[in-house]
């Protein structure tokens, strides 16, 4: 186990720069998730960490050692690929023992370690099977087994769950997290799925267009997104955004689309009439007499909660209620955002305005 330092790393393919100076400190034993939309550079960064891509500039160190020019096999890392990359002509046991075999470990040693890994992952009955004979979830576990037999300094996961069906994905998510709690190996995990990021990470790094937008614990990012991109990316259903202006006439308010008045706890250090984006998460709406008028468009009950799509000042928003209101499309209701949980962003830069 060891820490990983990514310092001002850049990557260009030809003249095209895809990573514009990324700095991510990763502590020993931490579970870090790199998340972002496709094309944001998260997989490239992971592959640079693995040594599969060259580093154009900046440094990556594992432990105390700068690994820019260290061969992948000398970096003492293990990687789980999106398509698992299991060797089709080897049994599960051979797949898992391959790295040890290449290191000239004795067959007793290989057997012992493969067996132990198989026990951890409940793969013991499958050791003699070939990858073709396994289900998606089993292949996924073999890919993890191949990583853990080596007992590496760092685990790298490249979108490992995206080939699984929804139910299995949730189960494997828990399994990977449990494995990390048990082994406590430093882990870097790449995904485009913000729910995976939220549920698994000790620290989330949100990337977008080759830069780091924000990093922090899942709840920090959820409660206090630095900018509109992070606010919109983290959370499902996504945060509602309403464009308008800040008004300070004794009481701070926000004037939304078509003059809708929305509450603000305090006005940021900004003058009256500042153009801004008002962000409110779906679960932070309540039904109150002094709320903004909204016309219901669609009601989607999921059982545990109900998602209500409604129009405020002509703009569609979504609100989530735990209570089972009897709403019908076309009904007029009054939605009130909780002023203490409202986010305000600069309209031009997307930066957070309120504290």
């Amino acid at each position: 186990m060891s820490s990983v330092q990514i310092r001002d790393v850049r990557k260009s393919f030809g003249n095209f720069e895809v990573l514009h100076g990324v700095t991510v400190p990763i502590e020993d034993g931490q579970f870090v998730v790199l998340v972002g939309p496709s094309g944001c550079g998260k997989s490239t960064l992971l592959r640079m960490l693995a040594g599969l891509e060259n580093i154009t500039s900046g440094t990556i160190s594992i432990g105390d050692r700068v690994v820019n020019n260290v061969q992948p096999k000398e970096r003492d890392i293990a990687m789980v690929f999106q398509n698992y990359a299991l060797y089709p002509h080897m049994t599960v046991a051979d797949n898992m023992g391959f790295s040890l075999k290449l290191r000239n470990a004795g067959s007793d040693e290989i057997n012992k370690r493969v067996k132990r890994a198989a026990e951890i992952l409940a793969l013991s009955p499958l050791l003699d099977r070939y990858p073709r004979q396994l289900s998606g979830g089993q292949r996924q576990r073999v890919a993890m087994g191949r990583a853990i037999v080596r007992d590496p300094q760092v685990f790298l996961f490249d979108e490992p769950l995206s080939n699984l069906d929804a139910k299995l994905r949730v189960a494997m998510r828990t399994e990977i997290k449990e494995l990390h709690q048990r082994l406590k190996t430093t882990t870097v995990y790449v995904t485009h799925d913000q729910i995976e990021a939220m549920t698994m990470a000790d620290k989330i790094v949100v990337m977008h267009d080759g830069i780091v937008e924000q990093m922090g614990t899942p709840l920090e990012l959820y409660d206090k997104p630095d900018n509109q991109f992070v606010a919109g990316f983290i959370g499902s259903p996504a945060m509602n955004f309403l464009k308008g202006h800040v008004r300070v006439n004794g009481v701070a308010t926000f004037e939304g689309p078509n003059g809708v008045k929305l509450p603000l706890k305090t006005a940021p250090g900004a003058s009256d009439g500042l153009p801004a984006v008002y962000g409110v998460r779906p679960e932070h709406f309540t039904i109150a007499d002094d709320g903004a008028e909204a016309e219901i468009v669609v009601v989607e009950p999921t059982g545990s909660e109900t998602q209500v799509f409604a129009k405020i000042g002509g703009e569609q928003v979504v609100a989530v209620f735990r209570e089972r209101h009897q709403f019908n499309p076309g009904d007029k209701i009054r939605l009130k955002p909780d002023p203490s949980l409202v986010h305000l962003f600069d309209e031009a830069t997307g930066k957070r305005l309120n504290a």
Binding site: L52, Y87, L102
Partner: protein, 317 residues
């Protein structure tokens, strides 16, 4: 309400006769769809093969219907040293040429699978020997190896390495080397391009995984590329061996089996005896004698290299 009696059409139960039944039988229809292919195979493959084997048991000559003579032709061949020389030549030709074609073909395939400039052009260039008509390339080799005008002899003489022309196609050892060389030149593209196609089916992430597992380039080849390529190698080499074993054009255009029968293959000897000398029965016997060898080659690939265990089993994708 009074029930209204609706006159119901009585289902007409026609007693289907045999012809009608047959018309609606899917297997019958399927049979007719297969007839063209079957006819093609019977007239152009099974019939000539059967006729050839039948001829080998007769004393047919050109212009005269033969009599059934049993295994007499084969008994003659058994004591014919030229026949046995042609068997030796064919085996030598096939083994040496196929082995070298495999080695060079695999090397080229691995090379062309790398990222390099002008990749598409190089791949197309490799195919050139394959698209030149065999007789044309044989004639070119004939000139290259000519006893008087050989460009190789000329070059070596000008370099001062030799004093007189090498008699490429006149010396038994040189003649064998020359025809084998020409066959290799012609056969490498097929092996190389087919193996290249096989290499491209190997997922790059397997190499990445192996590299992270600590494999060197050689170990990548030994433990990943080679095992995954074996099914393709089996198919390619079976075809390559069959083509080489039955080669005729190249030899006939370059040496006609000479000198002193040193490059006579079974196919060329068969042609010489059957068509040139008119002994159709004997020629057919030589041709038929190739069948056991060819069957053996097919058996090797069938049993030794059929679908591996790892390719079988449920596919849960």
């Amino acid at each position: 309400m009074a029930d209204v009696a609706i006159p119901r059409a009585k289902p007409q139960m026609i007693e289907a006769n045999a012809w009608t039944q047959l018309k609606h039988n899917r297997n019958w229809l399927g049979f007719w769809f297969m007839v063209p292919a079957m006819a093609f195979l019977i007239f152009f493959l099974a019939y000539p093969l059967g006729l050839g084997i039948w001829l080998s048991f007769t004393d047919t000559r050109i212009g005269r219907v033969g009599q059934f003579v049993g295994t007499e032709n084969y008994e003659w061949l058994w004591d014919d040293s030229i026949f046995w020389l042609s068997v030796f030549n064919t085996l030598l030709y096939t083994f040496v040429a196929s082995a070298i074609k495999f080695a060079i073909g695999l090397y080229l395939a691995l090379l062309l699978n790398e990222n390099m400039p002008f990749k598409a052009m190089l791949r197309a260039m490799v195919l050139i020997p394959f698209i030149v008509p065999t007789v044309l390339s044989a004639l070119a080799f004939w000139w290259i190896f000519d006893s008087q005008f050989s460009i190789i002899s000329w070059s070596l003489k000008h370099l001062g390495l030799i004093n007189q022309n090498i008699n490429f196609l006149g010396d038994t050892t040189w003649a064998r080397i020359c025809v084998i060389f020409a066959n290799i030149w012609r056969g490498v593209p097929f092996v190389a391009i087919t193996l290249l196609a096989g290499l491209q089916t190997v997922s790059p992430s397997l190499y990445e995984a192996a590299t992270l597992d600590g494999a060197t380039r050689w170990q990548n080849f030994r433990f990943i590329t080679y095992p995954l390529l074996t099914p393709i190698i089996a198919v390619v080499m079976t075809f390559s061996v069959l083509f080489t074993f039955t080669d005729f054009q190249l030899i006939w255009a370059m040496t006609r089996g000479g000198p002193v029968n040193a490059t006579h293959l079974m196919a060329t000897l068969s042609y010489q005896r059957a068509i040139i000398a008119g002994q159709l029965g004997e020629g057919a016997a030589i041709s038929s004698a190739m069948i056991p060898f060819l069957l053996a080659a097919i058996m090797v690939s069938w049993f030794g290299l059929q679908r591996r265990k790892w390719q079988q089993g449920e596919n849960n994708d």
